[in-house]
């Protein structure tokens, strides 16, 4: 089971990217099976409704963050998915308050499961969030295999260039791709991500 962890701040566009990524993988010639593990911080789900509406297999963990307080729920859910679906691909969508690298560490240490982190950074709010919560926002990029800098359509050129440089500095050498996830994302980016997860 190849595993991708999708992380990034609240409202950065994770679910929008996920819809495209899952569709890209399931449309491969060998029709690999994809299961999504959806984690939401509140007591009610929203993203799972969107994903299930797109005919994707979704398991949800609500009311707790699987990178920390809900780490046991993460392990339980991954084990259940593995035994019930035996999927080719697992995509874990973290909450916007999660540290993806903690999820990666837990999966590796407890289940021996390797994974790659796809980190999403919101270009339009980057400066604002770096003032409000700089350490947290930087830490969300830790261990990223690849970074998408989203909402380029809502960001002026100067702010986008600044965000790109700062995200690049925080990403430990991972490739950073500016995108507008409302438009089709270049398939080469998804291919690069999948190769990292192989």
């Amino acid at each position: 089971m190849k595993t991708i962890i999708l992380g990034g701040f609240l409202g950065s566009g994770k679910t929008t990217v996920l819809l495209q990524l899952a569709k890209y993988i399931t449309n491969k010639p060998d029709f690999p099976q994809v299961v999504i593990l959806e984690n939401e911080i509140g007591e009610v789900g929203v993203d799972n409704e969107i994903l299930e509406g797109a005919a994707l297999a979704v398991e949800s963990v609500f009311s707790g963050c699987i990178c920390c307080t809900g780490a046991v729920d993460l392990i339980d859910a991954v084990q259940t998915i593995e035994s019930q679906y035996e999927p080719d691909w697992l995509i874990v969508e973290a909450t916007g308050m999660a540290q993806p690298s903690s999820i990666q560490t837990n999966l590796k240490n407890i289940l021996g499961l390797d994974s790659v982190i796809l980190a999403i950074a919101d270009a339009s709010r980057w400066s604002k969030l770096m003032i409000a919560s700089p350490v947290f926002v930087r830490n969300q990029l830790e261990g990223a295999g690849l970074v998408l800098l989203t909402k380029t359509d809502k960001t002026d050129a100067g702010a986008l260039a600044k965000a790109y440089e700062e995200v690049k500095q925080c990403s430990g050498g991972a490739a950073v791709y500016p995108v507008c996830a409302l438009d089709p994302i270049n398939e080469k980016i998804f291919e690069e991500l999948m190769n990292k997860a192989e």
């Binding site: 409202g11 911080i41 007591e43 929203v46 409704e49 969107i50 307080t69 909450t95 916007g96 604002k128």
Partner: protein, 143 residues
């Protein structure tokens, strides 16, 4: 919905890390509105909100948008940061099927279409009490 024990902790003792008080890492807060649940996690405060509309869809959308905008504006006015405010609006129309013999099955359609919105307002920099107050004040009046 999770149960809260006398220590104000949720019942997931086996599933969470615990602090020195034996509490899980996210806190629940007692509230006076049954459709609003307030929890905290790290620096964020989350209001989980359920709203039932008995309006037509256009009117319900207007009310939902107005509610979301009011929560966002007041969060910023109080110096908080909007994390994410998102809702899913579902439409359903129920029908009852009944029979009293082996022949006829009667069908009765509900008189109205129900619209149900469920979602969250996740913010930073506000207290749980502040967010609860904002959400309760602006909660749409339907039902």
């Amino acid at each position: 919905m999770e149960e809260i024990n006398e220590n104000g902790c949720c019942g997931h003792e086996n599933h969470h890390d615990h602090d020195e008080h034996g509490c899980c890492g996210h806190d629940h807060h007692h509230h006076r509105h049954e459709n609003i649940e307030i929890t905290t996690h790290e620096d964020s405060v989350t209001a989980s909100v359920k709203i039932t509309f008995r309006e037509d869809r256009d009117r319900a959308e207007v009310m939902l948008r107005s509610f979301m905008r009011a929560v966002a504006e007041e969060t910023e006015a109080l110096g908080g940061t909007i994390g994410h405010i998102k809702f899913f609006l579902k439409e359903s129309r129920g029908s009852m099927f009944s029979m009293t013999d082996t022949e006829e099955i009667q069908k009765k359609d509900a008189a109205y279409t129900e619209l149900r919105a469920e979602g969250v307002a996740i913010v930073l920099g506000l207290t749980p009490e502040q967010l609860e107050e904002i959400v309760a004040v602006h909660y749409p009046g339907a039902v």
